[in-house]
Amino acid sequence: MTRGAKGWRLAARLACALAVATLFLFPIYWLAAISIKTPEEIFAYPPVWIPSGFRLDGYVTLFRDGDAWAVWNSLVTAGISTVLAMVIGFIAAYSIVRYRTGGDHLAIWIISQRMIPPICVAFPIFLLFVSLRIVDTYTGLVMLYTAFNLPYVIWMMRGFIQEIPLELEQSALVDGLSRWAVLWKVVLPMSRAGFFATAVFTFIFAWNDFLFALILTRSDVITYPVQVTGYFGSQSTFWSKIGAMSMLGVLPMIFVVGTMQRFIVRGFSMGAVKG
């Protein structure tokens, strides 16, 4: 290929890439634009493509009316359940990898738990939560997300722990560290990049969940996706609130993609692609 042809090829690829990126970004731009438009601009016909100013009224309303608590609720439930799932999942994964606890069966059984559609077990879980009196509480949602994410954490951490050389742990044991200490002082630091990546994914799953939050919350610990759906009324749709609340849910994810790109392939493919 000549130099000129190569240059043209790259230019064409760049143009395609730009077009594709615009296509994927546009809906999110539209959402962000709605969140900062004036009411007149939102309901203008034909639609206004670029907001005239940067109006934060939609966001202010959310905070003034207390609707923004939903974002706090999401943060608390997703945050605490992530910590719990990571700790419980990490030690379980270690046991499964190093001591072959339960053979292959335990690991397969655990990952198969993730296959079942949430709606199928939603009602029995609801009944269980009613009898435990934890419907619409942080405890309930945290417990559910912890359980829901555990299979994922165990599966991912299993892969990361398998990559740690066994000799390191053995020499630490010879040096007189207890098994428990080896776990936290050798295994955890060695797998910390994978641990962190898994934690971020666990957080995303809980953060984005809708169905369980819909069923297991009423008002006190309602999460932001449930709140968003509340703005679609049968009579009127509160566009600026939908825009603002959705953006509050999207902003952390923009940060995640910006910082975690290296791990995203592995996280999404449940460890099938090492990336």
Binding site: R13, L31, A147, N208, F210, V257
Partner: protein, 298 residues
């Protein structure tokens, strides 16, 4: 003697330790995973509705009802058909995107990050966004179509029975094509370059190269990606919930939406349990079948 007993004690200690480590995880999964499952099976044989709380077992009544329930089979058909349409589109578009980004390019990481964004946002937000995009008056989609068609259009994307499924398809493909793209990009990067060049020198056709070199190399990864996405599509709920709520009528009801309606709107608990069990049973059979096929293919 004393040495062997100390080894024995160490082994006991190790055994206790390893079970202690998995105990919390197993407990939590049993509580939230197994208990509801057992409860589900029991309920499906009882007769619990909004008005009745009859815990006596009355056999396969609810399972018999499944066969005559047209709304159920319709929702199942919707789910399967939508999966069969959306999945190949996502694979194809994801593959094309992966080819576009396979070779080095300036700003590649930024482009990939931007394209990835839809995949990490909540499906509820994605659905809401597309509902706003598809609004027949204030949304940009009709405007763009009007611009291209050169006249005013008033397509009711979320109401018109013939347009709702395409609208949902657009939202779903927008959100999950990046998932396929990312995984296929990683898989394609690992295809042996030398083999490809050798094939090119030998004058192998594009199709031949794809079938003999590329496909075998990406097949295992592609299989996992398809399995994950197929299971996700099968439980499709959030996007439909925000975009159409299953409507108009029951036109966009998937199995998840229908099961939700039966359990939490109609409170036909026992019957919805039977539906849930049917779904779990079918999915398990399907996954086992899929895994077998792949093993045989190897």
């Amino acid at each position: 003697m004393s040495q062997s007993s100390s080894i024995g004690r160490a082994l006991d200690e190790q055994r206790a330790f390893k079970y202690l480590l998995v105990a919390p995880a197993v407990f939590v999964i049993l509580l939230i995973g197994l208990y509801p499952f057992v409860k589900l099976i029991l309920t499906s044989f009882q007769n619990i509705t909004m008005f009745e709380d009859d815990h006596s077992f009355n056999g396969f009544v609810h399972y018999a009802r499944l066969f005559g329930d047209e709304r159920l089979w319709e929702s199942l058909l919707h789910t399967v058909a939508f999966t069969a349409v959306a999945l190949p589109i996502e694979i194809l578009l994801g593959y094309l995107l992966a080819l576009l980004f396979l070779d080095p390019m300036p700003l590649k990481r930024l482009f990939v990050a931007v394209i990835l964004l839809p995949t990490v946002i909540s499906p509820i937000v994605a659905g809401s966004t597309w509902r706003l995009m598809f609004d027949h008056r204030f949304g940009p989609v009709n405007q763009i179509i009007a611009f291209l068609a050169g006249g005013e259009v008033k397509l009711l994307w979320t109401v018109d029975p013939f347009l709702v499924w395409p609208a949902i398809l657009v939202a779903e493909v927008w959100q999950w094509t990046p998932f396929m793209f990312l995984i296929l990009l990683a898989a394609l990067s690992n295809v042996d370059r030398e083999q490809l060049e050798a094939a090119q020198i030998d004058g192998a056709s594009w199709l031949m190269t794809f079938r003999k070199i590329v496909l075998p190399a990406i097949a295992p990864v592609l299989f996992v990606a398809v399995l994950i996405r197929a299971l996700d599509l099968f439980r499709l709920f959030d996007v439909i919930w925000t975009m159409t709520g299953g409507g108009p009528g029951t036109r966009t009801e998937t199995i998840s939406v229908y099961a939700y309606q039966m359990a939490f709107r109609e409170f036909d608990i026992s019957y919805s349990s039977a539906i849930a069990f049917l779904v779990i049973f079918a999915l398990t059979a399907l996954v086992i079948f899929a895994l077998r096929r792949v093993e045989i293919a190897r």
